[in-house]
Symmetry: C2
Subunit: 174 residues, 2 copies
DNA sequence: CCGAGATGGTTTAGGTTTCAAACATCCGGG
DNA sequence: CCCGGATGTTTGAAACCTAAACCATCTCGG
């Protein structure tokens, strides 16, 4: 399992990781590493720009997006946690910071005294509108290397990959 | 009893986020959200399995992979940082834990007393071999929904996307 | 009414991550 | 030789993230 690594390459990233796996599933591995590198590249740039342009972070932005999308009724913490696919304890902290910044309001639910409901303040709504517009431009810019047809094909293939992964995760407790 | 990993959640995920953006670059946005969802789905499952099967984490695994690939000469902390595309301060902490666990050796460089060199211990090499084999199987399993042709096409498109993003990042300090 | 379990949230402990600032060391010019 | 800048690493603060333990409340059966 330790092939003498034919050393070389100066500019290396995660993709070069396993240039020569010995046996079977080398192709899948390379595909995965490329997908990961691509997603991390874009995500990192988005995080960087959110920080530089708005002094915020991706989790904050995502939470605001969920509330914007949910409308004036707002969401409970648990609902936000499910939609963002993160742990509930995580949402507690992010929401606390957004409330402290005045972008999100939190009020108690009279019907269920356990649940707190989050919603955007007017300022939060305004701020998210700014951020969201910039975010959309950034993504378009970062994906500008793809033609329309490329985008469609990629979208379709990723859908298939996502479905396969989801069934592999949910279906088989290997 | 906190709900199991926030994966199941039949209802909504990041993709549903912006079902109806008003204006221009909706298509790119949807593509990006799908890519992100797909990568996060797989990455999360890999993290989960690394934790359950080996009691380790993805960054630790990645660092071992870099050292394995680098061969017996090892790498400096800075070189590892560049290859993993993470900050140097980050590598300090991860390496410290791996050294404490006995999987990685750290020795001073007589030629440059600033730089520390990391390399795998025999135990580290053995342990990584186990983890790496399992990891390769997992990836193959998680991507099993794709035919060989799908994989090739996806690989090509992601390469194009990655190149475009890279040039958009490096080229224009917008 | 009352207790058991389910559900919503918070807290705690451990890791990961980044940035910025400090520190250590090397290298080159004067 | 010595000073300044470049380079390698560490440290500290703040945020994020999870899992697990815990608390508060709700719901439902008896």
């Amino acid at each position: 399992m330790s092939p003498p690594p034919p050393d070389g390459a100066a500019a290396v990233d995660a993709e070069t990781l396993l240039a020569d796996a010995p046996a079977g599933h080398k192709r899948e591995l390379r595909l995965w590493l490329r997908m990961l590198a691509c997603a991390n590249l874009i995500e990192g740039e988005v995080r960087r720009r959110l920080r530089l342009s708005f002094g915020t972070t991706l989790p904050r932005f995502d939470l605001l997006a969920q509330l914007e999308r949910a409308g004036p009724a707002g969401l409970t913490l648990g609902e936000v946690s499910r939609r963002m696919m993160v742990s509930n304890g995580n949402v507690t902290g992010i929401a606390a910071r957004l409330v402290a910044e005045g972008l999100v309001a939190r009020r108690a639910n009279p019907a269920d005294r356990r649940a707190g409901t989050l919603s955007l303040t007017p300022r939060g709504r305004r701020e998210f509108a700014r951020q969201s517009a910039a975010h959309e431009e950034w993504i378009a810019e970062l994906l500008a290397g793809l033609t329309s047809a490329d985008q469609a094909a990629l979208h379709r293939l990723l859908g298939r990959a996502k479905g396969g992964a989801r069934s592999a995760i949910g279906g088989e407790p290997a």
